[in-house]
């Protein structure tokens, strides 16, 4: 029991919650503009791979840049397909996730000759514990990004127009403002967040493993939905999910009678419960998924 009341536990909760919070915010940036973003999983995985490849080839900050770029590429494909060609966003999102899974597997084989994991990269060498976490450059970036989002969305002209695109695009178009451009910008901004989530994952584990995002992108989507598509609320729900996962990992480590597979199932079951509305019913943007 004392394991849960320690600073180490708080650190692990935050550490686990960061990618969920980042991806949930990234999804929000896309969906508030009206573009359904199922591809968060792919953006995260791409970000993770880009980071490890960049670290492997040059250094840690090249890795961060490469990871963000990789996430942006996936977001760009989403924009091209959905905003540019008018393709179905959900099928496109799932296809992108499959594509990224295949491409990262291909890259893994090509660069490291392995089907399961890359070599270890040093990444960030920071302090341990709570102080080490809050001074970690990526953590600072995360907090800044998530804190800036409600301001950007609610208090700038861009944010207002983006939200209008998600609620009533016809009204926006009638003003002569480009709905497509705003939706593209929102989705690309979201891609930065989701890519950073992947970078954090890979930096945390110091390597890339096959399919390492493991459904986190979908869990983040659920967090975004449960948070009512509101910028910081999604991050708050993500923190709750992080707490649940940290509890599960601690329980696993302590060796209770509960089988590991059932414990590992917990995040996904919790997500299902959240979707079903145990955490409250929410309202999506009115024009979400519509031209």
């Amino acid at each position: 029991m004392s394991a849960f009341l320690s600073v180490a536990f708080v650190v692990s909760v935050l550490r686990i919650a960061v990618p969920y919070a980042l991806a949930a915010t990234g999804g929000m940036w896309s969906e508030r503009g009206g573009v359904v973003n199922i591809a968060l999983e792919g953006m995260m995985l791409a970000g993770a791979f880009g980071f490890v490849l960049g670290c492997h080839l040059a250094g840690v900050w090249t890795g961060v840049a490469a990871g963000l770029l990789a996430g942006e590429l996936v977001a760009g494909l989403l924009v091209l397909s959905v905003v540019g060609l008018g393709a179905d966003a959900i099928v496109t999102g799932v296809a992108l996730n499959l594509l990224v899974a295949g491409l990262t597997r291909y890259g893994l084989k090509l660069v490291w000759g392995s089907s399961s994991n890359s070599s270890r990269v040093d990444g960030f060498t920071g302090g341990e514990g709570l102080l080490g976490l809050v001074t970690h450059p990526l953590f600072v970036l995360t907090v800044v990004g998530i804190a800036a989002s409600p301001l950007l969305l609610g208090r700038t002209r861009f944010g207002l127009r983006l939200r209008a695109c998600g609620e009533h695009p016809a009204a926006v178009a009638s003003l002569g403002v480009s709905v497509a451009a705003h939706r593209a910008a929102g989705t690309l901004l979201g891609g930065l967040f989701a890519g950073l989530a992947g970078v954090w994952l890979a930096a945390d584990q110091h390597q890339f493993t096959d399919n390492m995002s493991a459904g986190r992108g979908y869990v983040a989507l659920a967090a975004m939905i449960t948070g009512g598509w509101r910028p910081t609320w999604g991050a708050a729900v993500a923190l709750l999910f992080g707490l649940a996962e940290a509890v599960q990992i601690t329980l696993q480590g302590q060796g209770t009678g509960i089988p590991t597979q059932l414990l590992q199932m917990m995040p996904y079951v919790l997500t299902l419960l959240a979707l079903v509305g145990f955490v409250g019913r929410t309202r999506p943007p009115a024009a979400l998924g519509r031209a």
Partner: protein, 345 residues
């Protein structure tokens, strides 16, 4: 979608998808330092070029017939069945368990249908769940299905590891002899060594039945009506919610039949990790087949050829190339469909 649509409207998306995929494949092959032509030659020689390869192609196509249709039928009703992977797992587990617990002397005429029904039933239950969650609670069925994929895999893994597995193994007990399906190599020595079996015929029969259902029955018409316009359908008096759940249950049942091939036709038991992405490949198959049951067969054969060919070309390029092509095909099809739909507006 069909009928009044022009010839080019129907065929441009799949053809465009194949061209884009071929182009992507070439780029990836060059990236790996191999000549695209050499890769293509090796691929064809290793699959349709010899009897064993051909048999393996048809063996790998069999589960894709089931999962392809499992995605296609809900798609015609306006739903996206992303849960085919999990439905295949529970279906196969059901086949394996029921098949093992039948009395030892059960004749094939009883054992085979009972196992098939078990697989279909388990898959249908898992398939209906997201549909019901959406109808009852408004839960997002795509995310729910993906979560259920993870949950189903974890539960199956736990059940096998805890109490269903034979000692020292990761698979269930063997099914009774009456339940197993014979390999086609028993009829034609040319196919010796390949695992293609009589469940292939079940797959083809199911495609024909699916086509008949959608085009010639009132239920099929209702499902298509819901897919083309749920609010209009509701105004017309159709029970949209119930039809959606039924469509998902049908999809789940079809995905569950993967177990008939994997357990009854191949291994004779349920083994952890057998599915290998067959549910997601089914999405690609259904997209390429434009969600039309009869077109699922050529689409499944194409992906089975790529999959088997991936093994044949692994000396030249990583077999993961096939995984990439799957995503490329789906993207290309859906992008081309969107572009055509926009051009038509």
């Amino acid at each position: 979608m069909s009928g009044a649509a022009s010839w080019e409207h129907r065929w441009v998306p799949p053809v465009a998808a194949l061209l884009v995929a071929a182009g992507a494949g070439e780029l990836l092959a060059i990236g790996a330092g191999a000549s695209p032509l050499a890769v293509l030659e090796a691929l064809v020689a290793g699959t349709w070029g010899n009897a064993y390869g051909l048999g393996q192609v048809w063996f790998k196509a069999t589960p894709l017939l089931f999962t392809g249709l499992a995605v296609a039928i809900p798609f015609r009703a306006g739903l996206f069945n992303v849960g085919a992977e999990g439905q295949a797992i529970v279906g196969a587990l059901a086949v394996g368990v029921v098949g093992a617990y039948l009395p030892a002397g059960t004749p094939a005429i009883v054992a085979v249908p009972v196992c098939v029904a078990a697989g279909a039933g388990a898959g249908a239950a898992l398939g209906a769940l997201p549909g019901w969650l959406r109808a009852r609670f408004g839960a997002h069925e795509v995310i729910a299905s993906i979560m259920l994929n993870f949950v189903a895999a974890a539960l199956a893994n736990w059940a096998v590891a805890s109490f269903l597995a034979e000692p020292e193994t990761l698979h269930t007990a063997a099914i009774v002899p009456g339940a197993s399906l014979s390999r086609l190599s028993a009829w034609s020595s040319a196919l010796t060594g390949s695992a293609v079996n009589t469940s292939l015929f079940l797959g083809i029969a199911v495609l024909v039945a699916g086509h008949h259902l959608l085009t010639r029955t009132p239920l099929g018409l209702s499902l298509r009506a819901v897919g083309l316009g749920p609010r209009a359908a509701e105004a017309g008096g159709l029970p949209v919610g119930r039809l959606q759940v039924l469509a998902m249950a049908l999809g789940g049942a079809l995905a569950g039949l993967v177990g008939v091939n994997a357990v009854q036709g191949h291994k004779g038991y349920y083994e952890d990790g057998f599915s290998g992405g067959v549910g997601f490949l089914g999405i690609a198959v259904a997209m390429l087949a434009r969600a039309e049951p009869l077109l699922v067969l050529p689409a499944a054969l194409l992906f089975a050829t790529l999959s088997e060919g991936g093994l044949a070309i692994r000396a030249l390029v990583p077999k993961e190339l096939v995984d990439v092509l799957v995503g490329v095909v789906i993207l290309a099809v859906v992008g081309a469909q969107g572009a055509r739909a926009r051009a038509a507006r």
